[in-house]
Subunit: 337 residues, 4 copies
């Protein structure tokens, strides 16, 4: 069961509610986020919610049968919208485009990308400074030095930053330089990292695991939310299957399913989702009609020379065309029956 | 290597060409279809095509490195269009909608569907009379009797029939009553059936196997083509993965990949692809932007009462809305940059 | 529900039982096999079996909740043993070794294999005469001519034949020349073929589908059994997964699971299961301890020259060593606690 | 390329070697482990190794084409054996049994397990104190307090501890209380954690990722080795596939493949590998014949009451029987041809 407490509730009243729930053999987890104060009760007994609902201090109570509670749409029907400031939002009512290189490589590179984005009125830039690489001998990113520069250049243009955090100790050092923390596909079930991001007042974008189910993605979001951070978005980026004709299998089925199960925004990453540059735009456009709230893709002035992921990266001409097409498709989507 | 022979070539000239290719240690397969006469040469030696190309009777010669040859776009660049007569076509330049129930159940049922389709100007109806079912105790379809009735009713309305053939012996008995033979996902590698369909002068729609790769789907099409039948289309219908939130994982990545690899039309079946009625329209629309040449989906007057697949079947209101939306999206697609 | 009827039951008594079951809203399928006469009732109502059980002519009655009924161990606890004559058996109490080439190629090839098998006291030889091949241009087997020769040579040595049947029309022509019909991994859900094999009085070995579940394999066996043929065995041969280090992923988990769910014998094919010659013996030995009733693998005098599957085929030295090791491991298995 | 340097090499000699390799356009990574000092050169140029091999200070040089270098058997042919002290070893020449509960729960629980293990002469106990759980509301383990107690009780009995480390900050605090750090299946590609474990002088057991390939597992081991820690072992524990009849699909194919590709010991975890208590012993025994160097499984006095994973946990009677059988099978393995 999920209880939203009245704001500014006195400790004694809260204690009384908790004690009542525990009396029903439910285990209580207290969750205090940027927006509200909740009690999550986990138990098996079949109880009458009204008895608890009438206690002083209970603003709202719901039965949520899903494994995940706070991120479920069974409880919160209104979609979550993340406000990044300066008019940049992620969530229903807007269509979000996040573009940029796989890796941050140099000041010159960032400037060309920022020029491209601002010319196309794109307000969010992606770019990795800490890179998870299968081999220890591959380029692992520019690190904090790169991030500080990225932040400085992007700020000057009014562009927001989405970048991957790989471990708990980076959360604090990266905090002041990012607008959205990205949790990568290899860390979707790095529970300590999710816990740490629960303590932060910045949006978190969680990518689906390489072979993660939709349920697991939602449970990972529940970790962050129950840790105290409601500012969450999810991202489908392709799953691992037997098919080798594409890098991953972009599971667009997950988009309408997630949109019904959760109130969180759902983005799609077609670059990793198919992994072949020529087809990235097709999959990006398809994702819009599957119901995505936004797209996150890779672009670079010269994809052939990119430090990583060149084979799935668009050049600026392709990227510009995609942006224009995305907007036309999104516009159509709003008028469909 | 792939050779197209000049029409009406004398046997001696053909024999001379074959003998020349065999002299190069290539194994030759002769293919005579409705449209032309080909020689497919399989071998490993690195040879100079021009020497063969200059032989009398060779109209065209190409090197095709793919496992599949005749269905490859490396050889035939112009897309294949299937003309079903009466102005009904499948392939580029048209957007094909095929709708209808999972199973043919009764005359009344067919009439309601035909009414719905003709009202919406849909010219192709699907419906199974032979049903592949996992359990031997499930409904297995109305058989030939159902097909004859289906044919009679559809003809009266100018609607074409797409229906599944399950075994070699059915090819002949079904022949006069179908417009498109469908090969189901469990028979994609039923090579004897593919061979038999190679000898038929009716279009064949091959569904991707439940866990079939894109390469295997193309090789299955090669079977039919090399058997003598060029009238082929392919259909993505979802693959089997670890994800259980949907019935299958619709692999829209396969659409642009197939469109580049082959000249054959590519349809998408969102009903089996996601298996959840509420989300079928989203995936159908997404498929259009992934580049599909058409959509094949399930509709029934009362999905709750359908003999099979009710959970993924649209009612007529949903189906009508989908048809209108599909046409608007297809219209937009033609104007995208 | 599953009812075994008394032998030689009068038609009127049978009709009375059927009518009683149908009165309970159960759909009845009558199954008459080589061994007995059954009624399979499919329905949802929660009924008291005793009322039916006391009707005249009912020898035995069971509730079977599985999708598959006749092959379930919930009904028949005693393991099925297939008796091929001349002291050759498949099933508990024996450990079956089936070995031979992927494809039958020539009389000389068959003779060398038969020599090898008889020297090692192996009584079952595998070898394909009809070969399912992904590409229409690959070698497709010697056909009936090869089978007749295979039969003649094997008979002369007292060796039994296991060979793949690919389509309905082959069932009859192959019948007199095979001892065990094999259904290949691409035909596990070729329901027409399964139906046809239900009408035959020869054992059938069904391989698991390339991406078939354990449940589906059992349902495929149910097709043959409910068609009238109880002489059945199953074979795990590797499934398709994301892993590319091996040809398939041999799912030995399936062995103890199948042994509990069904009374049918369970063999394992390590050659297709891993697809790498050097590791085939390891997997064969592992399969014995997973509980397999036998092993089916590929051997050839010169694997490098085999017409197909050479990369996973043992030479005779490797094969002889494997046979001796298999027997030692099986002997140990019988003495484990 | 991989170079082992002579012990105690002068800095100038080392610098000369590095400079020579860099002159060949190879990127050099210096690796100093507990046992030796290496240079790993990554590059594409086709060079003559002898020129480098003759430089002063080069003890050994090898070309290794794999993505992973230091863990490859192409370089180090002799199998790695981990010596945990007190006669406890992991690696060829011994068969390692690691048993214990999923989670450490209480002093009483640990004592019953330790009794069981010492009675059966098992020297390694597993048990989680930090538990990765999909849901934030599940039991997450006793933490450091539990580990200190675990260490104290196990030490008193001469039993070694294998336990999971989940994040970088735990490496140091856990260090003095563990004998083997286990990296769980959700952290196989937690590269920061792998880096941190490279700096430790304690053995590390890396479990294969839930959908990790064999190649990725080896690359993860390369991270730890190249970070300075040679004391490594790998563990197959089942992968995620479409099959739902078992919790995971135990991929025993991976055992002989890994044994050929790497010099590191390979263990198997049948508890997670199949996830069904009754079949765990079968799969454990099968793993021995697939070539495993040891087995890691879950046991608990009362599996029904275990805090986690009860459904796949053996009771002590089952565990004792398994231990005796494992030893008999391992004994047989050593005598097979």
């Amino acid at each position: 069961m999920l209880i939203q407490l009245q704001p500014g509730l006195a400790p004694a009243a809260k204690a009384a509610i908790i004690s009542r729930i525990e009396g029903l053999k439910y285990k209580v987890t207290e969750v205090k986020t940027q927006r509200a104060h909740y009690l999550v009760g986990i138990g098996k007994a079949d109880i009458d919610l009204r008895a608890v609902g009438q206690l002083p201090g209970v603003q709202d109570i719901h039965r949520v049968s899903d494994e995940y509670k706070l991120v479920s749409r069974k409880w919160r029907v209104r979609p979550t919208v993340l406000d990044l400031g300066d008019g940049v939002r992620i969530g229903e009512g807007d269509f979000t485009i996040v573009a940029g290189p796989c890796s941050i490589e140099s000041e010159a590179q960032m400037n060309t990308v920022l020029d491209h984005l601002t010319e196309n009125n794109v307000r969010l830039m992606r770019g990795g400074v800490f890179k998870p690489r299968s081999s220890p001998y591959s380029f692992r990113g520019m690190g904090m030095e790169g991030l500080r520069l990225f932040h400085q250049l992007a700020r000057a243009r009014g562009v927001k930053i989405v970048t991957e955090v790989m471990q708990v100790s980076q959360v604090e050092e990266m905090h002041d330089y990012v607008d959205v923390f990205q949790v990568g596909a290899r860390n979707t079930q790095n529970f300590n990292l999710l816990d740490a991001l629960g303590g932060v007042d910045k949006p978190v974008l969680i990518k689906r695991g390489i072979s993660g189910t939709v349920e697991e993605l939602l449970s990972s979001a529940e970790y962050v939310f129950s840790g105290g951070n409601e500012k969450l978005a999810l991202c489908e980026r392709g799953i691992r299957t037997f098919e080798t004709a594409s890098r991953n299998t972009l599971d667009l089925n997950a988009v309408p399913i997630l949109k019904e199960k959760t109130h969180l925004p759902v983005l799609v990453d077609p670059s990793h989702g198919i992994g072949i540059r020529d087809y990235v735009p097709d999959m990006a456009l398809a994702a819009v009609l599957a119901g995505a709230d936004g797209i996150l893709y890779e672009t670079h002035e010269q994809p052939e020379k990119a430090a990583s992921d060149g084979a799935q990266t668009l050049n600026f001409e392709e990227s510009g065309r995609l942006i224009r097409n995305l907007r036309r498709v999104y516009e159509l989507r709003q008028t469909l029956e």
